[in-house]
């Protein structure tokens, strides 16, 4: 078919896509073009296009920032702790739920554990600031019963990362079990029947049938999570941190916010953001490539 004929056949499809493509062009591809701010002496009055270039000045300045090393380290450490815990906990909970034979109990449990996923970090931040308060939070009240001295969870650098990982797992583990539970239902029941005939107990069945049955999806999610090594969770940290815990809890995203939006250092903040975007691009591409190779996964 030549292009005129194709156009005649396909024009309604092009028309359907047009509005969405336009929005994406402006608000997703526009900011990509806006990354040029990293190489400009950006002036808000002159805009992205009109501001003069200043070469690698912003990059050099970025490399001289004293906090940057610590911020990148925090980002990596927090993100990796979250990735590991966020992979393991849902697998265990999905296996436990799989052993529940009472459907009503299973469904009720699922309803409750999915819930925190749908609440924002502003709401959860508000709740956590209250319950973790060293003076009158309920958590420290409970610790007091066991004669443990009050802990300033959100003001102590040692505790802060721990709080971040635990609360992130608490919010997301339930929702993450969905995919594992779906994988479990697709395991052929004949395998279990055969194992029972061979005399395998439930533990052996779990070890030799259930876990291997889940393995492909575990491998897939583990590889895809590689793309998140620089996503330590802006929403969560922004709502929980304060200057007392910057040294252990400040991450690239929060740093860019303070540098760019609060202190109006647009060029340098964009340069830091560009660094993050480039590393993320490499990691996400790698993760998709591995997922494709290992699990035959395709995005679309």
């Amino acid at each position: 078919m030549n292009s005129v004929k194709l156009w005649k056949r396909d024009w309604p499809l092009h028309l359907m896509i047009f509005p969405g493509a336009l929005v994406v062009l402006i608000y997703s591809y526009g900011p990509l073009f806006g990354l040029t701010i990293a190489f400009k002496k950006f002036m808000p009055s002159k805009g992205i296009i009109g501001s003069p270039w200043n070469g690698l000045h912003n990059i050099q300045f970025m490399l001289s920032l004293p906090d940057l090393r610590q911020v990148i380290e925090n980002t990596f450490v927090i993100a990796i702790m979250k990735i590991v815990a966020g992979l393991l906990v849902p697998i265990v909970v999905a296996l436990l739920l799989n052993e529940v034979s009472k459907t009503a109990f299973k469904r009720a449990a699922q309803t409750l554990i999915y819930l925190p996923h749908f609440l924002s970090w502003v709401i959860l931040g508000g709740i956590m600031i209250d319950i973790l308060s060293p003076s009158d939070g309920i958590v420290n009240k409970i610790l007091k019963v066991f004669e443990i001295k009050p802990i300033y969870f959100l003001g102590d650098g040692h505790w802060f990362r721990f709080v971040l990982v635990v609360s992130d797992v608490w919010k997301e583990f339930g929702f993450s079990t969905i995919v594992y539970l779906a994988a479990l239902t697709s395991i052929n029941p004949v395998l279990y029947e055969a194992a029972v005939i061979d005399g395998a107990n439930r533990w052996r069945q779990t070890l030799h049938i259930t876990l291997p049955g889940m393995l492909p999806i575990i491998v897939l999610l583990a590889t895809l999570s590689l793309g998140n090594v620089l996503n330590a969770g802006f929403d969560q940290i922004f709502n929980l941190y304060n200057p007392m815990v910057y040294h252990s809890g400040d991450i690239i995203d929060t740093y860019v916010y303070r540098l760019g939006i609060q202190q109006a250092q647009y060029g340098i903040a964009t340069a830091v953001g560009l660094f993050k975007s480039l590393v993320s691009l490499v990691m996400i591409s790698l993760s998709y490539f591995l997922a494709y190779r290992l699990a035959n996964y395709r995005i679309f």
């Binding site: 309604p12 499809l13 092009h14 359907m16 969405g20 493509a21 929005v23 994406v24 608000y27 997703s28 591809y29 526009g30 900011p31 990509l32 073009f33 806006g34 990354l35 701010i37 950006f42 808000p44 992205i48 909970v93 739920l97 052993e99 529940v100 109990f105 009720a108 554990i113 819930l115 925190p116 609440l119 924002s120 502003v122 709401i123 959860l124 508000g126 709740i127 600031i129 209250d130 009158d136 309920i138 339930g174 969905i178 995919v179 029972v196 107990n201 439930r202 709502n239 995203d253 860019v256 916010y257 760019g260 939006i261 903040a269 953001g273 975007s277 691009l281 996400i284 995005i299 679309f300």
Partner: protein, 293 residues
């Protein structure tokens, strides 16, 4: 199915107990906030309140209703959800349908698909995003909260995979009857896709209701803040350096413990209300979107 060995019976009891604890643990913090919000200030101060209100009173809620700022923010959020979700759904459907075609049915399909997916791989980051919104003149208007986020790519992928699973024969018979793409989409595909549509509607509603950062930096005045941005400013942000006089005043008026609890609970309530109705759909939807055979 299995014979229950004593060992397995013991495990089973432990398992039910553990899962019960885990499930309750997921809602206890919320229950505590609920209890605080309906307890008298004196009971809260003396630390008697755990998971049920002590000396019931709606004083904290009256305090919120008396502040027009809270209601204004709530109304901004309602408008944002209505407008934003409408826009999200319209664009999601219109993008997912053409992308669900095979390349031989729609030349350019693969190119378009990459065009959208690429934005998930590489983004401009905060500052360029902020500047583009500023330079396109959306600052301080409701449009800034709904237009830049109008195309939720993840939802597009969920719906397009659902569309692909529909029987091909339906479309072919409609084509033979002379129906074009719009007829196929609106008369055949959409009515058959209610579970997937319910799922992505839930995601879109929750996403718009929960968004707080865009409101915080794109709105100039506290009267234009949606509820979550308002809460962020009034009850979470403790660093007064960057707050306006108006925001400081609100912090002083609405920052006692019971008022904070009541504000948090009211902001969570719409999600708690829609969640049970849509929950039965989303499991199916998320699984379809994320795992493909």
């Amino acid at each position: 199915m299995d014979k229950m060995t004593p060992g397995y019976r013991f495990f089973s009891i432990l398992n039910y107990g553990l899962l019960l604890l885990i499930s309750i643990g997921c809602v206890l913090p919320l229950l505590h906030i609920f209890a605080l919000s309906f307890s008298s200030a004196s009971a809260v101060t003396s630390g008697e309140v755990t998971f049920w209100p002590v000396k019931w009173t709606a004083a904290a809620y009256r305090n919120i209703i008396d502040r027009p700022e809270y209601l204004t923010a709530f109304w901004v959020s309602v408008k944002r959800v209505a407008l934003g979700v409408g826009l999200n759904m319209a664009l999601t459907v219109l993008i997912a349908y053409p992308l669900s075609k095979e390349p031989r049915q729609f030349r350019g399909r693969t190119l378009y698909a990459w065009y959208f997916v690429f934005t998930m791989l590489f983004s401009g980051g905060l500052i360029p995003w902020y500047m583009v919104i500023k330079e396109t003149g959306l600052m301080d208007s409701l449009w800034a909260l709904v237009i830049p986020s109008a195309v939720p790519i993840f939802n597009v992928l969920v719906l397009l995979n659902f569309f692909r699973g529909l029987p091909k024969e339906l479309e072919e018979s409609a084509k033979i009857d002379g129906g074009g793409h719009f007829i196929v989409l609106f008369r055949i595909f959409l009515p058959l896709s209610l579970p997937a549509l319910a799922t992505i509607t839930l995601f879109a509603v929750v996403n718009h209701w929960n968004s707080w950062f865009d409101g915080l930096i794109l709105m100039n005045r506290v009267e234009h803040y949606p509820l979550q941005s308002f809460l962020q400013t009034v009850i979470i942000k403790q660093d007064p350096t960057y707050l306006t006089a108006k925001e400081l005043e609100l912090q002083a008026l609405m920052n006692d413990r019971t008022s904070r609890a009541a504000q948090v609970f009211v902001a969570a309530l719409p999600v708690l209300l829609v969640y049970p109705f849509l929950q039965r759909f989303f499991i199916k939807g998320i699984v379809l979107g994320s795992v493909k055979e």
